[in-house]
């Protein structure tokens, strides 16, 4: 992205004219090169990808419908009559509900982080680059949100606005904006003090141009890495909201909600009841490890 930032046209021309003697990689090329040589990250990225694909293609993969109930087939163990992972308290197929539940959970994990990265990131870049009073106003406002624990804040916002998926997402977005803003602000403040910003200013470039070409590329890395680590947090928080009845409403399948309703049956089919928790755990830990891998791969000075 950054390597095509100023001049994105005739790059190919260069390579055609005279191939460089030594292999020269662009920034993103070298990031992918390092990622390719990191098996741990690759494995976990594959798992995340599998979960995402399963969620998207749920109707094709799921063996049963997620809402198909059965009075006789309630709370059955693994493998009962073709129900590979058993059934829940209404006799619905667990595997199908887990696959469908991934849709909601992943959406709740990704969308708030995405929106928060954009808004919080922009606020942080503007505050960090402007400095002075603008920065103080923005950052002190963010600090107000820091006064509350994130779970409490999410619960309070979702509770105040009423449950539902959209409100849950909004609550999570509001929770993630302050930390996102702080990451962007810190990165921008560091970049702003460097001489190349001054050199750009010395050519007569305006603030918007400097931010676009010189600041964003350098802030994108830290923001991206932090955002990828927030996805798992978001999935967990969303599950928590659903568990408390503030997120998705039944009968929509959602991992947090499933965990909440199945907890009463934990003594009857403990393994089946633990499945939604396991799904949350696997997804969030994979997201975290992939984010760690990205952090390493995106470090330029390696």
């Amino acid at each position: 992205m950054t390597d095509t930032i100023v001049l994105d046209g005739p790059r190919e021309e260069f390579e055609e004219q005279a191939p460089p003697a030594t292999r020269v990689r662009g920034y993103w090329q070298s990031v992918f090169y390092r990622l390719r040589h990191d098996p741990v990250t690759l494995v976990f990225a594959a798992i995340v990808l599998a979960i995402v694909v399963a969620a998207i293609c749920a109707p094709l993969i799921a063996p049963f419908g997620p809402y198909k109930e059965s009075i006789v087939g309630r709370l059955k163990p693994f493998g009962w009559r073709g129900h590979l992972l058993g059934t829940d308290e209404l006799g619905r197929d667990m595997l199908s509900r887990l696959i469908y539940g991934g849709r909601v959970s992943l959406l709740m994990g990704v969308v708030p982080v995405l929106i928060a990265s954009l808004t919080g990131g922009m606020l942080g870049v503007v505050g960090g680059f402007a400095g002075g009073r603008t920065n103080t106003v923005i950052m002190r406002t963010m600090d107000v949100f820091y006064a509350f624990p994130s779970v409490l804040l999410a619960v309070a916002i979702a509770g105040a606005m009423g449950g539902g998926m959209a409100n849950g997402m909004l609550a999570l977005t509001l929770v993630f904006i302050p930390p996102m803003c702080r990451v962007a602000e810190t990165a921008t403040t560091q970049i702003r003090a460097l001489d190349f910003i001054e050199a750009a200013r010395a050519t007569g470039a305006g603030t918007a141009t400097i931010i676009r070409y010189h600041v964003l590329g350098n802030v994108l890395g830290p923001v991206f890495i932090y955002a990828s680590s927030l996805i798992s947090v978001s999935i967990l928080l969303a599950s928590g909201l659903s568990f408390l009845g503030l997120g998705v409403r039944p009968p929509v399948p959602d991992w947090g909600l499933m965990l909440s309703t199945l907890r009463q049956s934990i003594y009857i089919v403990p393994l089946v009841c633990a499945l939604p928790g396991l799904a949350i755990f696997i997804t969030s830990i994979c997201c975290n490890l992939v984010s760690d891998g990205l952090r390493a791969a995106m470090d330029v000075r390696m």
């Binding site: 950054t2 390597d3 930032i5 100023v6 001049l7 994105d8 046209g9 005739p10 790059r11 260069f14 004219q17 005279a18 460089p20 003697a21 030594t22 020269v24 662009g26 920034y27 460097l194 001489d195 190349f196 001054e198 050199a199 750009a200 200013r201 010395a202 050519t203 007569g204 470039a205 141009t209 070409y213 010189h214 590329g217 350098n218 890395g221 330029v300 000075r301």
Partner: protein
């Protein structure tokens, strides 16, 4: 050096008009909470002639870098004016600050932080022309040209990132970047002080060659007297935000007026083992620029300080024309009544 000037199409005032005049430039940085301020640059006046290299020397913290930034309006001066080739800068009827930045560029000391780490160097070089209205293709073409002018193969180095380059190569890129917008004047803020001696010589020779090729005027800031002597036509000596002496290079190095300049020159290691420098000629740290001494700012460290030095601020003599050699010292001012007047 003056011969090429007539061919410069931007030249307006003719070769005899100074390219840049700084008058009484002042910049005090407020210190938070104390109500006091650091007097980084305090009433600096000088001119830079067309096609010359003006060296600026002084200890660390004497305001050299602030002065460089003031000349480009990267730091807004508290007071004083700049006149670029006859046009006052930033006032109506003169040239705008943007206009100044089309004609003056800067090379920074820290070659690492002065290049965007996420941008291939050809894009860093092309950025200036692009911002100043060139098409992307033209800007890129220009960047290739400039890279080869500074001795870097554009095919090999163009797509590289700053961390893949050595210090000397990065400084070459910085020079290419500064020259890409076609400036008439380049401010070099300690451009070689972070480089190895061997690389330093290469870069200095490159700067000399480029100056000839592009009819440039340099303001060369350094704390290294040998480097300044090698590259400059005239020297300006700064002490605690003020100009203490200015004059042609030979005059200053052979017959320095100001005790501070003498001390600086004497502090150079001797190349002759028979004439070792036995004692440090100047002791102590420079006084705090937040609370500079009254009168002559050098009087706290000057071996010839007298009462008049503590009370009266010495002025830089007027001199005749651009190439006069003047110093701000009471010893050289008949009106000051210093007992050593005429002895030095």
């Amino acid at each position: 050096m003056d011969a090429g000037l007539t061919t410069d199409s931007h030249d307006r005032g003719g070769p005899r008009q100074p390219l840049l005049i700084a008058r009484d430039l002042r910049k005090h940085f407020p210190v938070k909470g104390s109500g006091k301020s650091v007097q980084a640059v305090d009433g600096v006046t000088f001119s830079v002639g067309k096609g010359e290299t003006l060296g600026v020397v002084g200890e660390s913290g004497c305001g050299k870098s602030t002065l460089a930034r003031l000349l480009l309006h990267l730091v807004k001066p508290d007071a004083g004016e700049l006149v670029f080739d006859g046009d006052p800068v930033g006032v109506s009827g003169g040239i705008a600050i943007d206009g100044l930045r089309r004609q003056v560029q800067m090379v920074f000391q820290d070659s690492y932080s002065s290049l965007n780490p996420r941008m291939p160097i050809r894009d860093s070089v092309a950025f200036g022309p692009f911002v100043q209205g060139k098409k992307k293709n033209e800007a890129r073409h220009l960047a290739r040209e400039m890279l080869s002018k500074v001795g870097l193969n554009p095919d090999l180095f163009g797509p590289r990132y700053p961390h893949e380059l050595s210090g000397g190569q990065k400084q070459r890129v910085n020079i290419a970047r500064a020259l890409a917008t076609g400036p008439r004047m380049v401010i070099l803020d300690e451009p070689v002080s972070a480089l190895d001696k061997s690389i330093e010589a290469q870069v200095l020779n490159l700067l000399r060659a480029l100056k000839r090729q592009f009819n440039l005027t340099y303001v060369f800031i350094s704390h290294d007297l040998n480097v300044v002597q090698y590259i400059s036509d005239r020297v300006l000596v700064m002490y605690l935000g003020r100009v203490v002496e200015i004059g042609p290079i030979d005059a200053i190095f052979e017959r320095p007026f100001h005790p501070y300049t003498r001390a600086l020159l004497a502090s150079r290691p001797s190349m002759d083992p028979a004439r070792r420098v036995e004692e440090p000629p100047i002791t102590g740290d420079p006084p705090n620029p937040i609370n500079p001494p009254a009168g002559c700012r050098f009087h706290t460290r000057c071996p010839f300080a007298e009462r008049v030095c503590e009370t009266m601020n010495p002025t830089l003599g007027a001199g005749e024309g651009l190439h006069s050699h003047v110093a701000a010292c009471h010893i050289h001012d008949p009106r000051a009544g210093h007992s050593r007047y005429g002895s030095a």
